[in-house]
């Protein structure tokens, strides 16, 4: 697809619109402008801009500690940003807690898996959104729905859907976390290193799933250190380095080496067609 390197007309309405985004005239589903976040003395994010368009997979790359997880958690409402604006479907929004982001239609697979060990798979998948019948938990309907979702993701190695998550292997837990995120009718799915602990078949399954979500018109943001995976599923790449967004463009503007260059040094001489990132701005 066509990627603009200048500000498109509709972006002039938004302060900080620097033309890092999607196709002209089309509002991205999520638009971040100037997001900053610090923890005590540690500045984790410096004025980050990011666009997540519908029907596209955006890969967020960066070295360890670049701020990828902090950015994800800021969008998910786990962290509150210090500065910056969040625009959702063209509207300015404030995400103060995880409920706000879920209400917008944002689902997140966290890197540090957000599962309760003492609860079983079904209980975890519906946590916070339990189905009720006559005021009490509707276990049967939740179990059926969870079973269908897991089957559709071909998660077949778990022995029982009713076993506590503590008894699952790392990969199975990750599969449950992914299933938990895609079970809801969401508009944006963010996955923070979803394949890190997965076997080959399960990695394949998650990558296929990401492509399927995209085909359904969802916006997907995926964080991965595996550039094979990134180049296989992503439409766009955004690179964070030490809390700054150093490059953001269509996948065609990158090759593996240039992504690595951006991650490690913040610039690349190998740019395929000169990424339009506002790296210079920061």
């Amino acid at each position: 697809m066509d990627v603009m390197s200048q500000a498109s007309p509709d972006q002039t309405a938004h302060p900080g619109g620097t033309g890092v985004g999607a196709s002209p005239g089309e509002e991205p589903l999520l638009r971040l402008r100037g997001i900053s976040k610090h923890f005590g003395a540690v500045q984790a994010l410096y004025g980050v801009d990011l666009d997540l368009p519908k029907g596209q997979v955006t890969a967020l790359c960066g070295d360890n500690g670049a701020g990828k997880s902090v950015l994800t958690k800021s969008i998910a409402g786990i962290h509150q940003v210090d500065e910056g604006e969040i625009w959702w479907e063209g509207r300015r929004v404030h995400i103060r807690n995880p409920k706000d982001s879920a209400a917008l239609g944002i689902e997140t697979v966290y890197q540090d898996l957000a599962l309760a060990d003492n609860l079983d798979i079904v209980q975890n998948m519906f946590l916070g959104r339990e189905r009720l019948q006559r005021g009490l938990l509707d276990e049967d309907s939740m179990e059926r729905a969870a079973k269908e979702t897991l089957a559709s993701l071909r998660v077949t190695t778990v022995r029982s859907i009713r076993q506590p998550v503590a008894t699952l292997s790392g990969g199975q837990r990750q599969a449950v976390a992914v299933a938990k995120a895609v079970m809801w009718n969401s508009k944006l799915v963010m996955l923070d290193e979803p394949t890190a602990a997965l076997g080959v078949a399960q990695t394949r399954m998650v990558l296929d799933l990401i492509l399927r979500l995209k085909d359904h018109g969802l916006a997907v943001m995926v964080i991965s250190h595996n550039l094979n995976d990134v180049f296989e599923v992503a439409d766009r790449i955004a690179v964070l380095r030490l809390g700054r967004m150093v490059a953001q463009d269509s996948i065609s503007a990158f090759d593996r080496q240039s992504v690595v260059d951006y991650m490690t040094t913040g610039v690349s001489s190998r740019a395929v067609k000169g990424p339009s990132a506002d790296g210079g701005r920061n």
Binding site: N64, N118, L132, A166, T167
Partner: protein, 443 residues
């Protein structure tokens, strides 16, 4: 190139790394047996494997009950321990420990502790007792509600301080221990006690009768039959329905065994209570405190295991961060745990009031707390949070009550009671520690 893996994962030739498959292999050894077993014998196989793996489940409490019964029957004067009169008395004494342990279970479930509940129970008993004194003479149901409410308000205060000001529960409730101890002495004043008497007809008599009035034998048999049929029918329908719809369910044999066990235990309790245990005048019947404890067990079990709020309590106990990310109001859940704990303790205090006939400054709130914690833990509740059921408080309370009763029968002096109680608490905590070590701890 730290953290970058441009070669890993699917290799260029698309072959799998050999170790990849292992990552998705389940830790089968500690999967609960009832969800993977197809029959009763398979269930016992899986269960035994799990016990050998270190997760003993209800085994410690069963062993403890059998051991306590055998020992005290053997050594008590004239083997009085197992007589109907003593068994009913034992249950009356255990009821206070049971209800206190159920209360403490709510905060233990969140990995917290409440050290104040002994004197919170005292305050609850005093409030209820005061409300039925001649000067007030409120209806006894309202007096009971008042005692529970007093406990709940205290729990709300302490819980709010703990969750909103982020103070350790240990310290806040230790302060509460002292404060409510002092408040109790102040309220009781020079009289030193507030009593309920069977000779004051009406409300005082009703409260006294929680422990000391008995259900007509015919009615108790009918009541038991109704409970067994309703409960057994519900369990049967639920399990059968889940099996039919292809959902995870325990094997038929296990369902039948559970129902049979409830029926047998119920018959045993009612039969023992319906033997005349009077010395001069006949004393026959199930004390009202038995259905009261069962009601507490039923209501709190439904709340904890069948309601959304209960599910959220388990989630907060297991992983507060996961609960927060799921949109659960963690602070509210934690505060409510202290409210439920202290409110339930208020009810325990009312049972104590009935059982002692009075609430006086001799009540040992410190010992009661330790008994409650020990009872919950012996019953199977984990001190580290995330694991525990209401029934654990009942079973553990029975063990503690049996020890308390047995030591009393032996006429052991107070110092030995203290030593033995301490040892029991230690034993309970070691069982908890052992089961935590072995049940693959992942955080």
């Amino acid at each position: 190139m730290s953290g970058i893996d441009s070669q890993g994962g699917l290799g260029a030739d698309g072959t799998a790394a050999p170790e990849a498959a292992d990552l998705t292999a389940a830790k089968v050894d500690i999967v609960p047996p009832e969800i993977v077993a197809g029959s009763l014998s398979q269930y016992f196989h899986a269960w035994w494997a799990r016990v050998r793996g270190g997760d003993a489940g209800v085994l410690p409490v069963v062993i403890a009950l059998v051991a306590v019964t055998v020992i005290f029957t053997a050594v008590s004067p004239n083997h009085v321990f197992l007589t109907p009169a003593n068994l009913v008395n034992l249950f009356d004494q255990s009821a206070v420990f049971m209800v206190l342990a159920i209360g403490e279970g709510f905060v233990l479930l969140l990995g917290e502790i409440d050290l104040s509940i002994g004197y919170v129970a005292a305050i609850g008993g005093i409030v209820t007792g005061q409300l039925v004194q001649p000067s007030w003479n409120w209806p006894w149901p309202i007096a009971i509600a008042g005692g529970i409410l007093a406990g709940a308000v205290i729990g709300w205060l302490q819980g709010t301080i703990i969750t909103r000001l982020r103070m350790p529960a240990f310290i806040v409730t230790l302060a509460g221990y002292l404060i409510w101890f002092g408040v109790m002495i102040q309220i009781l004043g020079t009289a030193g006690s507030v009593g309920v008497s069977s000779s004051v007809l009406g409300n005082q008599q009703a409260l006294y009768g929680i422990v000391y009035s008995y259900i007509d034998p015919a009615i108790s048999w009918v009541g038991l039959a109704v409970i067994v049929v309703l409960l057994g029918g519900m369990m049967w329908l639920r399990d059968a329905g889940r099996r039919r719809r292809g959902l995870v369910a325990s094997p038929i044999g296990l369902t039948v065994a559970k129902i049979a066990f409830i029926a047998v235990a119920g018959v045993a309790v009612v039969a023992i209570c319906n033997i005349n245990r009077g010395v001069m005048l006949p004393v026959i019947g199930v004390p009202w405190v038995v259905p009261l404890v069962l009601a507490v067990l039923a209501v709190w079990t439904i709340l904890l295991e069948r309601s959304q709020f209960g599910r959220h309590m388990y989630a907060v106990g297991g992983n507060p961060e996961a609960a927060r990310r799921a949109g659960i109001n963690v602070a509210l859940v934690r505060t409510m745990a202290f409210v439920l704990c202290a409110g339930t303790s208020g009810l325990a205090g009312i049972i104590y009031l009935s059982q002692q006939g009075a609430m006086n400054t001799n009540i040992n709130g410190g010992q009661l707390v330790l008994y409650a914690v020990a009872a919950a833990v012996i019953g199977g509740t984990s001190l580290s949070g995330g694991r525990g059921r209401v029934i654990h408080g009942v079973l553990g309370g029975l063990v503690i009550g049996a020890i308390y009763n047995g030591l009393y029968l032996l006429g052991l002096e107070i110092q030995w009671q203290l030593v033995i109680t301490g040892l029991v608490l230690l034993a309970a905590v070691s069982v908890d520690a052992l089961s935590r070590q072995s049940s693959g701890v992942r955080v």
